[in-house]
Symmetry: C2
Subunit: 292 residues, 2 copies
């Protein structure tokens, strides 16, 4: 997949197919693509995508495992380019109710479901590529959603915050090979919470609860997010947005640090405004982690 | 502290002071010491120790940061040996309301509060040692509470479970240097949850909730617990007990694996009986992790 040319070098051809998971990000990408003069078709994932918002676009509902059907629909719509975006509930073997178009791919899909998230997503992407599609990153079609380097909003980390950011990045690099999660909370150099299957919002809610109940009494702290080393940047980038700011404020953190250029900011203006109001810093940082 | 001779080599002298945190374990240790013919005095930590159960023993209530007062009380009771046992809410700078006996130790205590749990506990232990006390492990005075190698109860892991145990131990070894947590849940080689400040019970409750809400749909899994590499075995060993089995059952896990000889089983008979009823395996395993 490293041979896939970057989107900028290629002509825009036909409508863009957006494999649309949960949250607001798929619609931010759809709008950005439309602003750049490209029409879009949503392949909306049942159980994940926002039904009301999907209805505002040309769309088809599919199950996450119906890869054959997605290829057929995208082809019928004249799409050559595909983007995966938004949260999805990870499917399991029990969810495999494949349509006839997916049956030939079934054995491979089962093998992919045994691995970590990055492995599964990379495998699914290459299945689409073998069917003749070009899999792009959301940042290729909507580069304005990428986190810039430096502060977003008015606040900046103090020395303690900087130490916590360094510790968080070091921790995430260490667990990278395990394909676990992309986020950690550090306060005074202590790791207070590690994200795995629960997701960032859930981890922040847990911290807020632990603080309310007095189970942790260290003050402040930083949420640090970074892509895992083996992660395909087209498929799953760490994401922050208004939700993340609200969660971090409730968890009484001092701020957020995410890897610049390798993270997505959903609704950047609103994110910055909320961060300023909550007196949180939001910082785009460099990471020494190997990137793809 | 590695020069402290093991308890077995030393004569039993006077009553044993038990610095008594939360949970049932301090009382298991107290009973075990009494069975071996030794009287006990509890230094019960306010906000952590079980008030009703403390009342059944000779005791004094103290704050976790009142190290000077604890030394004075233990000395007055004729104790030379001390054991730390049970969960405590980690104190912070805001909790430092030191009595006059602790004032001389204050600067050092403040420095210790900046570090991870192992660092804090080791430092506190050496403060007691400098005051002439001998700090023993709960396993020294009550070896019957240590996890044996092999299965506790009737069930054993299948091949998937064995793979998950290996993956969990590898993960815990990797994060060891960060002094984070002692537990992880792995299912089908995927790390589903990592324990940090929230504790094991909390982590298992989160998994149960994620499964109920369909956010993770991988089935089964294993809770793996191991001491962190730098951990002083006298001070803080990974612990399982009836609570852990109930939590693991609610999280729909297949079983538990803990490092034999370096983990404590609170109420072993009840733990085994509950595991059998829930059809969970409980396995004492070797770890290649360096131990102290």
């Amino acid at each position: 997949m490293s041979t896939t040319p970057s989107a900028g070098a290629l002509p825009v051809e036909g409508p863009l197919a957006i494999v649309c998971g949960g949250g607001s990000l798929p619609f931010a990408v759809a709008e950005a693509a439309k602003q750049r003069g490209r029409s879009v078709v949503l392949l909306a994932l049942r159980g994940s995508a926002d039904m009301q918002r999907v209805a505002g676009y040309r769309h088809h509902w599919v199950a996450a495992t119906q890869i054959g059907a997605m290829c057929r629909l995208a082809r019928r719509e004249g799409c050559r380019d595909l983007v995966f975006i938004g949260g999805i509930v990870r499917p399991t073997f029990r969810d495999l109710r494949p349509d006839i178009y997916t049956l030939p791919l079934l054995r491979r899909l089962i093998r992919l479901l045994r691995g970590g998230d990055s492995y599964l997503l990379s495998g699914v992407a290459s299945m689409f590529e073998q069917q003749g599609f070009r899999v792009l990153g959301a940042h290729d079609v909507a580069p304005q959603i990428l986190m810039p380097e430096g502060p977003v909003g008015r606040y900046r980390p103090n020395e303690t915050g900087q130490g916590d950011i360094a510790q968080g990045l070091a921790f995430l690099r260490t667990i990278g090979p395990f394909d676990v999660g992309q986020a950690v909370v550090v306060a005074g150099r202590r790791v207070l919470a590690v994200e795995a299957a629960e997701g960032t919002d859930n981890m922040l809610a847990r911290l807020a609860e632990l603080r309310r109940s007095g189970r942790i009494r260290a003050v402040g702290g930083v949420l640090v997010k970074a892509p895992t080393p083996g992660q395909d940047r087209r498929l799953d980038l760490p994401t922050i947005g208004p939700h993340t700011i609200e969660g971090a404020a409730r968890a009484e953190l001092d701020g957020l640090a995410v890897v610049a250029g390798s993270s997505i900011v959903a609704e950047p203006e609103r994110t910055a405004a909320l961060a300023d109001r909550a007196k949180l810093f939001v910082l785009g940082v460099r990471s020494e982690a190997p990137e793809r």
